[in-house]
């Protein structure tokens, strides 16, 4: 195998594909990136951790001049560093007997070759059971939900995002058991695919990176135990999380009769300012809501107090005191996008319902304060 390409193209592609590679794997072959140079020209890079796989052939890789077709495994971290640090415009990669050589004017690196046949087969994309989503929309949907997913929860289903497709409606849902984010979007679903896979958070975050151009159409193939997504930059395949995702419909509160409207930016800023004195991990901010007034307050064990008024709140129901973990609000306010959010309550012990625009719903459980 032998090819020559623009250094930046190779460096960017190695960095992107390398983000899948596990730092240490019980299967050392997975610490490599596989490069395939085809006879018809063009280069494809692939990597997998057996859960999430990524293959990239776009973004300049298609124009790579191939002198000799073939394939090779390169150690991900080192190859990526070599390409990034290279000082010339072009760089070449070649195999010679059992060695692989990366070189550019004035520098040469060679590696003993691992057998590329040991590298696991990577699923390709097939149009069967595929739906189409606008990249810009999907990207926003992911950003608005992924933060609410659990991390390392014993209940595995919560460590992913529910990717629910019914007709032309795509819903993404994420929850860690204390808050839940739900966003609705559109999909072109000519085949009438209906499925509700749970996709690992890592794959969702990667997918967000793969969608470079918001105008492009992303194709999603919904398999039985995997989902394959094709964007211009690459193809992402992911295993699904097994298990039962909680019934999110049941979690959405239906009896919130006190509604407050508040400008997103003002609320975000006020919560951040109130949380400044709360103690590290067991934080809470109290919302004291009265007619057209929202006062936020917090206190620390050392006897420090904060009181911050959030401007622009509209409220016309009986006064209410309720406390929340401030992160649960700021995480959401950071990505919500809309200028205004409405927050509805039932009482100080029941979940609050946040709405932004017509497609975004967020549910958050309050913190029960010990009255002193």
């Amino acid at each position: 195998m032998k090819f020559r390409c623009e250094t930046k193209v190779l460096a960017d592609s190695l960095a992107l594909v390398g983000s899948v590679v596990p730092a240490r794997s019980p299967k050392p072959v997975l610490e490599n990136i596989k490069l395939v140079a085809s006879a018809s020209g063009g280069l494809e890079l692939m990597a997998t951790d057996l859960e999430v796989g990524l293959r990239c052939a776009g973004g300049g890789l298609a124009e790579v001049e191939v002198e000799e077709p073939g394939e090779v495994l390169l150690p991900a971290a080192q190859a990526s560093n070599i390409a990034r640090e290279a000082t010339t415009k072009d760089i070449s990669v070649a195999t010679e007997e059992s060695k692989c050589i990366i070189s550019y004017t004035g520098a040469s690196y060679d590696f003993p070759c691992d057998n590329s046949a040991d590298f696991p087969e990577m699923p390709g994309f097939s149009d069967k059971k595929a739906v189409t989503v606008a990249a810009g929309e999907l990207k926003t949907m992911i950003a608005r939900t992924v933060f609410a997913a659990a991390q390392e929860q014993a209940r595995y289903a919560l460590n992913g995002i529910l990717f629910s497709l019914k007709g032309e409606v795509l819903r993404l849902v994420a929850t860690d058991g204390r808050r839940l984010a739900l966003v609705k979007g559109k999909a072109i679903n000519k085949g009438g695919v209906a499925a509700e896979p749970i996709i690992p958070t890592k794959a969702m975050a990667l997918l967000e990176k793969l969608m470079v151009n918001p105008e492009e159409k992303v194709k999603v193939e919904m398999g039985d135990n995997q989902v394959v997504v094709q964007t211009a930059a690459g193809t992402l395949s992911t295993r699904l999380i097994e298990g039962q995702f909680p019934n999110y419909e049941e979690v959405l509160p239906k009896d919130c009769d006190k509604t407050m409207t508040v400008p997103t930016a003002k609320l975000h800023s006020a919560i951040r300012r109130t949380a400044l004195i709360t103690a590290g991990e067991s934080r809470s901010v109290r919302f004291s809501i009265k007619k057209d007034a929202l006062l936020l307050s917090s206190q620390s064990l050392e006897g420090r107090h904060a009181a911050v008024e959030a401007e622009g709140a509209k409220y016309d129901a009986e006064p209410l005191d309720i406390a929340f973990n401030p992160d649960f609000f700021t995480d959401m306010l950071k990505v919500v996008g809309d200028e205004e959010v409405t927050v509805s309550f039932k009482d100080s012990t029941s979940a609050a319902l946040v709405k932004a625009g017509k497609d975004y719903t967020y549910v958050v459980m309050p913190v029960q304060l010990q009255e002193t």
Binding site: T175, D176, G177, R179, L301, A323, M365, Q370, T372
Partner: protein, 424 residues
């Protein structure tokens, strides 16, 4: 203005030391044991040591710490009783209730020892010695147990005094007694000096407490480190450390429990059951303290005594048995699968919860499984009530109820011998 007849420049500290405590409690429970050599030990079928020996058994040269095999050889006619910690804890708590009738300032120093600060209360009972005598009498009348009481101006002298006339003793050491009675004692008699330290001191030519007091502190510091300075400070018989009543005990920083298995075990089912038992005890104690914590630490000691401790921090503060168990189990499974060197028989498991909540910490509500948790909490509350009333062993998880199996088969299973066949 204090009564001038009772006024004193010294504190008056009383030390109560229960005589052969575990063995005495056992004699109390089984009168047939009275008058015979009795040794309390761990499970008799396994490696264990004598935890307590009564005075008849001590005549055979047996003391706490004697390995069971040696004890059996030295005293073949002795009675060996499997220890029952809950009984002793109960007895100890009741004895402290009696102590509190003589002073509000009672520090439970260990399961069978307490310090009382009677500076202000001795006058009500006819002075320090009379207070000691009455306390002994009350304990004897109420429980039929004998204790040794030592009185002194501080903890060191009080504790030393209680040893002077053991068993059933009553003695007092005052500051005036220091040169005459305290300093001539061998160093091994001093509070805080164990056999090893005494041995080292004797090699240095230091045999009595008085000689120890004369050694420059730097020398002791060099040889024994921090301990050296402490024992030097104690040797003149002066000690300002206060008696800390239980109500003043600072809130715990963590709550934990550990268990040494009867036999080293590699049987995952069995080990997980042990973990559940530990998690339940920790949960119960967290609830008793009215607190919750967010860091769960699992300690594993393997058969070769290598020990690992791994912690996991959770997003919320917890106090439920199941949540503690789930976290401990996750760490256990993760560690065991990480390396073959951890897939070896285990000797001890420990679970603790730290990162405890303070009054400022609210309780984060849960969005999911609200019905499940409200039922679970109801069940736990009921179980706690039952335990409050009928003792810790009154309720437990079904899978922890000991099955009536042939003990030999049970122990083989515990040793992991047939775990292979069980998996296939």
């Amino acid at each position: 203005m204090p009564d001038p007849n009772c006024w004193t420049t010294e504190r008056v500290v009383l030390h109560v030391d229960m005589d052969a405590f575990f063995a005495s409690v056992e004699e109390l429970c089984d009168p047939a044991l009275v008058g015979r050599p009795v040794m309390v030990c761990g499970n008799r079928d396994t490696r264990t040591v004598v935890a307590a020996a009564n005075y008849q058994a001590r005549k055979y040269g047996i003391s706490a710490g004697t390995p069971l095999g040696i004890a059996k050889a030295k005293c073949p006619g002795g009675t060996f009783v499997e220890g029952d910690p809950e009984k002793y804890v109960y007895a100890s708590l009741r004895m402290n209730d009696v102590c509190r009738q003589f002073s509000p300032v009672v520090e439970r120093y260990s399961i069978d020892e307490s310090f009382l600060d009677i500076t202000g209360t001795a006058k009500f009972f006819g002075g320090p010695l009379e207070t000691g005598r009455r306390l002994k009498q009350r304990i004897k009348n109420e429980f039929g147990l004998t204790v040794s009481v030592g009185i002194g101006p501080n903890k060191i002298l009080a504790k030393t005094a209680s040893k002077l006339e053991k068993p059933d003793g009553l003695a007092m050491l005052t500051e005036a007694d220091i040169p005459r009675r305290f300093h001539p004692m061998p160093v091994s008699e001093m509070f805080g000096i164990g056999d090893r330290t005494a041995e080292k001191l004797e090699k240095l030519g230091v045999e009595t407490i008085g000689e120890l007091a004369a050694v420059p502190p730097e020398v002791l510091g060099r040889i024994f480190g921090v301990v050296g300075r402490l024992i030097h400070a104690a040797a003149p018989g002066r000690d300002a450390s206060p008696i800390i009543a239980e109500a003043e005990t600072p809130p715990p920083k963590s709550v934990g429990n550990s268990y040494t298995l009867l036999r080293d075990s590699n049987d995952e089912d069995h080990l997980l059951r042990v973990l559940l038992g530990l998690a339940s005890k920790v949960g119960r104690r967290l609830r008793e303290h009215g607190t919750r914590g967010r860091t769960v630490t699992l300690t594993i000691r393997f058969y070769d005594f290598t020990t690992i401790a791994r912690a996991k921090s959770l997003p919320i503060h917890i106090d439920r048995d199941k949540q503690i168990y789930d976290a401990a189990r996750a760490i256990f499974i993760c560690q065991r699968s990480k390396s073959p060197k951890y897939q070896v028989p285990i000797r001890l498991l420990g679970v603790s919860v730290s990162g405890l909540a303070d009054q400022q910490t609210g309780s984060q509500g849960s969005l999911l499984d609200r019905n499940y948790w409200s039922k679970y909490d109801g069940m736990i509350r009921a179980a706690d009530h039952i335990r409050d009333r009928y003792g810790e062993r009154a309720t437990t998880w079904a899978c922890l109820v000991r099955r009536a199996e042939n003990p030999r088969i049970l122990s083989r299973k515990m040793a992991g011998l047939n775990s292979e066949t069980r998996r296939n």
